[in-house]
Symmetry: C2
Subunit: 291 residues, 2 copies
DNA sequence: GCGAACAATCGGTTTCGCTTATCGTAGTGA
DNA sequence: TCACTACGATAAGCGAAACCGATTGTTCGC
């Protein structure tokens, strides 16, 4: 049995006329005769009575008809379902990003994306570069935004954002409160707030101080971004943070470091060789073109 | 889209392995690759991620899978449904017969038939020859048992039963009650019970009397078989009836007519050129071989 | 880094499905 | 009743589809 058999069968069953059925299906009449004959032979039963020039369903034909209709309807539904995905009326994709990007940049961007493509559903995963990369490599994540200093060679990437690290200080700080820039070496006596072991930010801070020739004094070690910023606001210390993290922080002043270029490159990455779903492709293009 | 596409798709989706899917479907592996590729091209979406040597469903593939399963399951159900009919596990057919046959012969026969073919459903239509023939000619009846003296030439028939007409009399009848035979001419003064206008039986009775040279006296005109027999039993008259009608009539005696051969041929008929359903064919064979 | 596993690709052959042309037959109307 | 018409069946031919065996190109595991 065959979908062509069934479409021919339903058309004939509905018109009770081989020639008109052929017209409806835009084929010549013999094609219909052949399809019906083949189907009847395969099933071992006559489906139509050709009695004189009147065509009518046999008992077996009547039994088959509802099945045939349902099969064809389901086929159509399946095609619609899948085609909608290729036409981006529906679809799912996933994106990973580090906390600062995820909390300060993506909400607005994804809102914008959702307005463009209301049917596409984006699930966001917030994690560090290492975690995100392995998720992408396992195929559990379509796209991720990660630091691009070391890239595995089974992912491809496109530059996404250059993130500057700045010094977060309290506006009331006697020495730094009003300055725009500062040399890192001048901070040798400032108490620092350090991020937990394993975070990129901690390494960056320690390395920068090291290059400037001092070991930072530590005011708080191991808090999350939110509590670190609270400490800074309260004047208990300073912290090197991504500029993005200060976007909504009102009682904090940011000071650039003049003697070192402290930045990190963030890239949008995906698994090399994997054909991204239409939804994922769309999200990737959206993110690269709307940086 | 195509059932072969879908079977290949489901097989791959279930094994996540093109080669094993090919084995299951008893085709070579390239056939599977080709079917999947064709389906993906037609739908415009990748259905599987081939990442390294691992195969996994894409979002679109996951969406398609339940539809594909349902389509294939329905196809199988349809095939079973129809095949059962050709294997006579199920089926419907229709049979028409005149009242005497229908009430005295068929109940036993159809019970026997039902034991042989429990899945076959026979609907019985009781009517006169004329009605039955036109039902057969219209394709509304598969088979009918009718008087075969005049046959339209678009039906075929096979002899079914020779029905003798006998004289039904009351056992208490002073003249006829104990006789086995009688000449029709001797009945000139007997009151007759006549069947309604249009019934074959009325014509037969009138013609027979006419041939015997008299006009029958009429005791009751136009009653059904049951009431006619009641009248006969009560000694109010005699009636020419098919022998079959007397099978269960206890207080009635039957007398043969010696000077005329009053019989009718009943044949089993069906529409010429119409391919009977398996069920109808089976019933026809049963009825002709178990007369 | 070598071998096994596995999907993709290629060239060739069979099968399928369509087309046009034609036939046979059953209604239909003068 | 006889031609005409409508309609399904059949035949022959052709292009496309589907399958196969052989081969290639990767990738994983040892």
């Amino acid at each position: 049995m065959n979908l062509r058999h069934l479409t021919a069968f339903v058309a004939v069953a509905e018109t009770l006329n081989f020639s008109r059925a052929a017209d409806e299906l835009h084929v010549a009449q013999p094609a219909i005769s052949q399809q019906i004959r083949a189907l009847e032979q395969e099933l071992g039963v006559m489906l139509f009575d050709r009695i004189g020039k009147k065509v009518s369903l046999t008992d077996a034909g009547r039994a088959l008809l509802p099945y045939a209709r349902q099969i064809l309807a389901t086929v159509e539904a399946a095609e619609n379902e899948v085609r909608e995905r290729s036409e981006l009326k529906r679809g799912k994709t996933s994106l990973g990003a580090p906390p600062t990007v995820s909390t300060h940049l993506l909400p607005a961007k994804l809102m914008q994306f959702k307005q463009l493509w209301p049917g596409l559903e984006v699930t966001l995963r917030e994690a560090g570069t290492g975690t995100l990369l392995s998720l992408v490599e396992d195929g559990k994540l379509d796209l991720a935004i990660v630091a691009t200093d070391v890239m595995p060679d089974n992912v491809e990437s496109t530059p996404f954002l250059q993130e500057d690290y700045v010094l977060a200080v309290s506006p009331q700080h006697p020495f730094l409160g009003k300055r725009q820039t500062v040399k890192l070496a001048d901070l040798a006596n400032e108490p620092f707030i350090l991020f937990p072991e394993g975070y990129k930010l901690r390494e960056v801070t320690l390395q920068a101080c090291h290059r400037a020739g001092f070991e930072p004094k530590v005011a708080l070690d191991g808090g999350a971004m939110a509590s670190a910023l609270e400490f800074v606001g309260a004047g208990l210390g300073v912290a090197l943070v991504p500029e993005l993290a200060l976007i909504d922080a009102h009682n904090i002043h940011s000071v650039r470091i003049s003697d070192q270029s402290l930045t990190r490159e963030l890239g949008l990455v995906w698994l090399k060789g994997r054909s991204l779903s239409p939804a994922a492709r769309t999200l990737r293009e959206f993110l690269t073109n709307n940086r």
